[in-house]
Point group: C2
Chain length 134, copies 2
DNA sequence: CTTGACCTTCCCATTGTGGTAAGGTTCAGG
DNA sequence: CCTGAACCTTACCACAATGGGAAGGTCAAG
């Protein structure tokens, strides 16, 4: 299987497959002419990477997960620790975004959205920014 | 006021102040020796930028907001449209993250987190990735 | 006049992804 | 046998937003 077929089989672009190889997430073989060759295990690895990425793990985390996956003597505690840290980060991010959404909804709700210039949204940003109000 | 003072007054790093100038969000003056000079209006602009960034607006959006802020004949509809689009994007992002969190919580809840290798988290990622299950 | 704290520009790194160009290979059809 | 399409390779550039650092100029206080 060459890289194009691997891309189709794994759902990961050629570009990203080469990138993952570059950062040592997988080591496909090479044919005599220099073409990369992918076996079933490589496809499985690529799909593992895709699944972990869809769960929001960073590529660095995916690298760690891959190592744990391939380590028969791993401790599930290590996987759980990594996952819990990720969940915590995701929750923090969601909290940030929700705070923004809350503020923005309030402001947008107070904005007439008509042809006149008066706008609570702009006013609020500007007054938060007003040095004389600091 | 030179850039160091402007950074303190606005809460924006020297680095970012120069970057915002580079992308034309503000045009500070220069002294004879080439030092940037910031007046009260520049500080206000920088704080406006900071306030908008804290609400999650992209720098491109901030540029648009700045233009609207400075446009006395703006329509509040334009501001609202921009804001509503941003809110929609934020909500979509939150939904994505919450979906990840939900899955991860389930998996982490089923993981013993002990010294043994058995781990539902890894298993789930690997089975999602299993080409024979596709 | 030196020293330290500024300032300037320019380049590099990050994260994850896409694009593009220049060149080699392989295969099918005429 | 030749040509063109459809692959493959490497090596760059780009994005968004931020930080780091080097090399050099400037200024104010002592």
């Amino acid at each position: 299987m060459n890289i194009g077929e691997a891309a189709k089989a794994s759902g990961i672009s050629r570009k990203m497959i080469r990138y993952y190889e570059e950062i040592a997430l997988l080591q496909p073989g090479r044919t005599a002419n220099g073409y990369r060759v992918y076996g079933p295990q490589d496809i499985h690895t690529l799909r593992f990477i895709g699944a972990a990425r869809r769960l929001g793990f960073s590529v660095a985390d995916v690298k760690a997960l891959l190592a744990l996956w391939q380590d028969r003597s791993r401790s599930s505690a290590d996987v759980k620790r990594l996952t819990d840290g990720h969940i915590t980060a995701l929750r923090a991010r969601v909290a940030e975004l929700n705070a923004m959404i809350g503020t923005l909804e309030t402001l947008a709700g107070a904005c007439d959205g008509d042809a006149r210039p008066h706008c609570p949204i702009i006013n609020r940003i500007a007054s938060t920014a007003d040095p004389s109000s600091a």
